[in-house]
Amino acid sequence: MNKIVLPPNESSPASWPEGLTRVPYWVFQDQKIYAEEQRRIFQGPNWHYLALEVELAEAGDFLTTQVGDTPVIVTRDSDSEIYAFENRCAHRGALICLEHRGKHRKDFSCVYHAWNYDPQGNLTGVAFKDGVKGKGGMPDSFKMEQHGPRKLRIAILHGLIFGSFSEDVPSIEEYLGEEILTRIERVLGGRTPVVLGRFTQVLPNNWKLYMENVKDSYHASILHLFFTTFELNRLSQKGGIIVDESGGHHVSYSAIDPDAEKDVEYAKQQLRSESEYKLADPTLLQGFDEYHDGVTLQILSVFPTFVLQQIQNAIAVRQIVPRAVDKTDLNWTYLGFADDTPEQRLTRIKQGNLVGPAGYISMEDGCVGGFVQRGIAGASDERAVLEMGGAEAKSSESRVTESSVRGFWKAYRANMGL
């Protein structure tokens, strides 16, 4: 894996082609671009998923996460409010908190020289501040309130905690827009989620290749035999794509439509997906009507790296964390809800087989990004072609389109000044 990637010849704004239908491959390869993304996107005016509110149910609960490369601590303080701050000591920069998650925390103490922080991220103590026996110690000019890790702004939406390092980010409602808000509310609104499992899938590719994949409704019924064979998702099913104004957020959804089952378009294309494959235990796919709108699949993404998924009754949030130009962590959190019956809970757990690192449909998304990353090696100056469904980044009734992929690049370029 650890190849030396030749720096692209043309990784400059000037070399980005006009329009939204071409994406230069250097954007997945260039170390400078990766660094610039950290500054402009991850530290910039965007909201980043941090955690679920239910994971910090009580005062004193805390967890650590990432916003891009930056380590972050999220807490619930004794005032019941959620706080987040950079997991970086104001002294010499060590991690303040080494644990993944925990409870009953009244303060955080850095192991290096024991500088101490309250759960809101304020520096509250400096070891040997006044020296020992009148010698040494901090000068009088040192004021604790002038030092501390950077704090994030927090927005909570239907139990999802988002954070931003930027003062310029609009409110979460304004950021997402009405249509995306409604679709988040559809899945999570008024319910208490329960974490059923957490897994990390380590992807051998640039983070943007995963986000493209999430927004790419074109591949779904071609790459994933499961989707088609069991009528979870066919491009001929009722459904559509929503792309927000910025381009960065999207929803892809489909509803069961028995008339589409024997769609001739599929037979004509001679796709792999027209096989005779059948399940020996079909209970895997026997779900329950959770949303009463016929929609069996809703994949929703929030720019830059958040995904909320409803695949039948398998509900999950996905957090995408870039680790290097060609390495990405995909954090899965599988959800149930507090009012699930035991049968409903079992259904969700069975349908968990569809998603995650071993998911009948998701394992493939875990490796195709790597196929692209390896395929484009040595082709930095070549470009991807995104013309399916036209050249725009607009909502569409058809899912045979790369509209929301183009939307991602629209938002990405706006963020990056490319």
């Binding site: 494959y277 020996a280 235990d281 895997l284 599988y334 757990i349 690192p357 009948y360 790597g370």
Partner: protein, 156 residues
């Protein structure tokens, strides 16, 4: 008797590992008997009592489906495993039902020859001892790490 139990379990586990490593996956569901349960999870999920698995099967049909999906449906690069198993520890015994815990290390060999340590962890098993053999009723595979490289296709 308990020496024999240890032996029976060791034999079943060795056969199980060979079955997967030799790519005889179609035979793999036959290792499970009775009300079967097969689950892959992580040690932090296991410790926190989280119910979902990376893989979850509570019928032999679901195990067969895993195999046929790998053969006919799923897309992934060819790969194989080498299982290295520790000695089983007997945790409890009630009549013919025996619970055991066994450490494993699984190396994954990709088609370009890359070999890496893919997973380490423990099997938590429930066996039924009958006819001088240990039959597997339940296997919970608890991986030490919560990070899975790229994908998990073959069973552990």
């Amino acid at each position: 008797m308990s020496d024999n139990v240890q032996q029976y379990i060791t034999k079943t586990q060795a056969d199980y590992a060979r079955c997967i490593d030799d790519d005889r996956l179609e035979e793999w569901p036959n290792f499970f008997h009775g009300p079967c349960l097969y689950k892959i999870t992580t040690s932090s999920n296991y410790r926190d009592g989280l119910e979902a698995g990376i893989v979850f099967a509570n019928s032999r049909g679901m195990l067969s489906d895993r195999v046929s999906a790998l053969r006919d449906a799923n897309i992934y690069e060819r790969q194989s495993y080498r299982h290295i198993l520790g000695q089983p520890s007997i945790i409890s015994k009630e009549g013919p039902m025996v619970r055991s815990e066994t450490s494993f290390l699984v190396a994954r060999i990709l088609q370009d020859g890359d070999t890496s340590i893919y997973a380490t962890g423990r099997y938590f098993d429930l066996y039924e001892i009958a006819d001088e053999a240990a039959k597997l009723n339940e296997r919970t595979v608890v991986c030490d790490s919560s990070r899975i490289d790229t994908l998990l296709a073959l069973p552990l």
